[in-house]
């Protein structure tokens, strides 16, 4: 093939673009109806509620609704608790992921199943379980209360505990996956250079899997931010102390639907921001 001149090159590009468009159209035409129709219904099912939220939003009174003290209180509490829960998840979740990915021990599969159970467990059940463990009369909570005077249920710390319980498995699974994909021979190379296993983890593995940890942390944070069931069960619903955004939305819906919509919009915006932050990782799959 000879090198085309500018004009013929441009023409070729146009032709090629046209071909591509035609090919795309042909591909769409080739999709069988029994697949296309349910797929479109699925799209509508997922997208229409979000559109409805935007359509019904009380745009005019929105600034007023969102600047109320209650909203700010709930939003601040949500952000603080979700961030704290993510921090807790990172501190214990990353080492846990490393253990699951790098150390061979009997019962590893069982342990992995156990720690990821909260992923599929109904959050309310998680809340009840937390009460049984960390409540005033719980098997651990009793000791915490009598020895250290620490009470977790129905406190802001309780919100963090409930959110971390639900969100940490997301982080563990994400980081473990990244660790498994990372070449363990870098750790071997570090060992031959005199690094202990911990030094190798800290100075080599951790920087290498940082993107995976970040993605896992964002995922856990988003999950913690939306946490409802475990939080309301374990920490209750006290404005300013344990009432996070999702609880506020639920409560507002019963008394002031417009406020509920406004609060929902804030959470939607946060979710979109999270997705935008992760787009490099997940939305390029196609």
């Amino acid at each position: 093939m000879t090198v085309p001149t500018d004009r013929s090159g441009a023409a070729a590009d146009t032709i090629r673009g046209g071909l591509r468009r035609r090919r795309v159209r042909a591909q769409v035409r080739g999709v069988p109806l029994p697949l296309l129709v349910p797929a479109l219904i699925g799209v509508a099912f997922l997208v229409v509620p979000l559109i409805a939220l935007l359509v019904r939003a009380p745009w005019r009174s929105l600034p007023e609704l969102l600047t109320s003290a209650e909203v700010w209180q709930a939003l601040r509490l949500s952000l603080v608790c979700a961030t704290a829960a993510t921090a807790v998840s990172l501190v214990v979740g990353v080492p846990l992921a490393w253990l699951l990915a790098r150390v061979e021990f009997p019962g590893r599969g069982l342990l992995r199943a156990l720690v990821t159970l909260p992923l599929v467990l109904p959050p309310v059940v998680g809340g009840v379980a937390l009460l049984m463990a960390l409540g005033r009369n719980g098997i651990v909570g009793k000791t915490l209360d009598s020895w250290f005077g620490v009470t977790l249920p129905f406190t802001t710390a309780g919100v963090v505990v409930a959110e971390a319980f639900v969100a940490m498995p997301f982080l563990v699974i994400s980081v473990e996956g990244t660790l498994r994909a990372a070449d363990p021979r870098y750790e071997e190379a570090a060992a031959t250079l005199g690094a202990s296993r911990f030094t190798a983890f800290r100075r080599v593995t951790l920087p290498l899997i940082a993107p995976g940890i970040a993605a896992g942390a964002v995922l856990a944070w988003a999950r913690a931010l939306g946490e409802f069931g475990a939080t309301i069960t374990f920490a209750g619903n006290f404005p300013g102390r344990t009432q996070t955004m999702p609880l506020a939305v639920y409560l507002a819906l019963q008394s002031d639907p417009e406020a509920a919509i406004a609060l929902s919009l804030v959470l939607l915006a946060v979710s979109v921001a999270v997705l935008a932050g992760l787009r490099d990782r997940w939305m390029t799959a196609g």
């Binding site: 070449d183 021979r185 870098y186 071997e188 190379a189 570090a190 060992a191 031959t192 250079l193 005199g194 690094a195 202990s196 296993r197 030094t199 100075r203 080599v204 920087p207 290498l208």
Partner: protein, 401 residues
């Protein structure tokens, strides 16, 4: 005859050219004349002297690693300053041996002593061992300087000290200009030298190199091989390298240890191994036709095949070797042949081999023969053609098993 059997013509051609280069690098080695029957005793003496030194200082290892059905059982004695190459086909257990030396794979049995102290139970981070990995494994998030400083840092140097040492090593390897570069910005040859600097910066008593040149393209390889040879010559402690490339092994190492199926099948100076191969694998590597049989005077009766007449007078089990260039091919049975070995063969394949053609023959005796393009055309050689192959007795070389 140092060329390996040209199964893949491109690889073979590369090796042919490389051999000439190797000769320049190490002209001391005369491994081209089969008839040079230098007594093996002097070589053995040389090795014995080295081994005697190795018992006190250096590496004294008997590596046994059992993994499923595969068993590695290799004994290695290397004196300080000596460079030994573990040479063998893929899957022979060379890398397992290297990993066992580094402590990355536990020994099932055997012993491992370095400079008189046992290393068997020592974890890899506490062994005075430096490793240059096949794909270097430079830490991608650290600069070349910090990669090299990593070892000194782990050994307790302060950040400033470690960096100063690293800068010195990079300078010594001619990489001062690339100290701030991340590994992905380095060329293959530069990355290889950074990996070497990183391994040397821990001041190891045992330097291990896993296929040090395998990741490089042919051009870089020549240059890096010569440089690596120089750096290894300067290294005062034990160096063990693993390779499947005979040329790398011969250029870089003082002594070869050939490993097949987890066992040492032959070891010695490169020239000795090139002259006296003991397995088909080595014979192919060094480009010799190799047969095993029973000698009776000038005649060697092969285990399978016709007798071969040799100049040596031997008895008992022997190897007979001759280079492909010693074979002369005839279309018709030659008459009046003197003390000649003559076999009726069939051409199985033809390959270009530098400016020569190598014919792969089957029939009475399977062998490889080199001839010029002109000769091949005159003989009208093609796969399936019947030819007579002759080898003068003086061109063969027999030696006891």
């Amino acid at each position: 005859m140092t060329e390996p059997e040209p199964k893949k013509s491109t690889a073979a051609q590369r090796t042919v050219h490389d051999v000439h280069d190797a000769r320049d690098v190490r002209d001391v080695r005369d491994r081209h004349d089969v008839n040079d029957v230098r007594p093996a005793d002097s070589l053995a003496d040389e090795l014995d002297v080295r081994r005697a030194g190795a018992t006190a200082d250096g590496l004294d290892a008997h590596l046994v690693v059992q993994r499923g059905a595969f068993r590695l059982d290799v004994t290695l004695n290397v004196a300080p300053g000596e460079v030994v190459a573990l040479l063998g086909p893929n899957g022979a257990g060379k890398t397992t041996a290297l990993r066992a030396l580094a402590g990355l794979t536990p020994l099932t049995d055997g012993r491992l002593r370095l400079d008189g102290s046992a290393l068997d139970g020592t974890p890899p981070e506490s062994r005075p061992v430096g490793v240059v990995f096949q794909d270097y494994l430079l830490f991608p998030h650290l600069t070349a300087l910090d990669n090299v400083a990593f070892g000194p840092r782990c050994q307790g140097a302060t950040k400033a000290e470690a960096r100063a040492q690293a800068a010195e090593w990079l300078d010594r390897l001619g990489l001062a200009a690339h100290a701030g570069a991340k590994p992905r910005r380095l060329s293959g040859g530069q990355a290889q030298r950074v990996a070497l600097a990183r391994a040397l910066a821990t001041r190891p008593r045992l330097l291990l190199l896993d296929e040090p040149l395998a990741a490089l393209d042919a051009r870089t390889r020549l240059e890096v091989r010569a440089q690596l040879r120089r750096h290894l010559a300067e290294f005062e402690a034990v160096a063990v390298l693993v390779t499947h490339d005979p040329l790398d092994a011969m250029v870089l190492a003082d002594r070869l240890v050939v490993v097949e199926h987890g066992r040492v099948v032959q070891e010695g100076a490169p020239s000795d191994i090139a002259r006296h191969p003991r397995t088909d694998y080595i014979a192919q590597l060094v480009g010799l036709n190799l047969y095993r049989g029973e000698a009776d005077g000038h005649t060697v009766r092969l285990d399978a095949g016709p007798p071969i007449t040799t100049t040596e007078v031997l008895s008992g089990p022997v190897f007979v070797a001759f280079p492909p260039s010693a074979v002369t091919l005839y279309r018709d049975r030659p008459t009046g042949a003197s003390a000649r070995n003559l076999w009726h063969c069939e051409v199985a394949g033809l390959e270009t081999h530098g400016d020569q053609i190598r014919a792969d023959l089957t029939g009475e005796l399977p062998l490889a023969a080199d001839l010029t393009t002109v000769a091949a055309a005159e003989l009208d050689l093609h796969p399936g053609a019947r030819v007579w192959a002759a080898v003068k007795a003086t061109q063969t070389h027999a030696y006891p098993v």
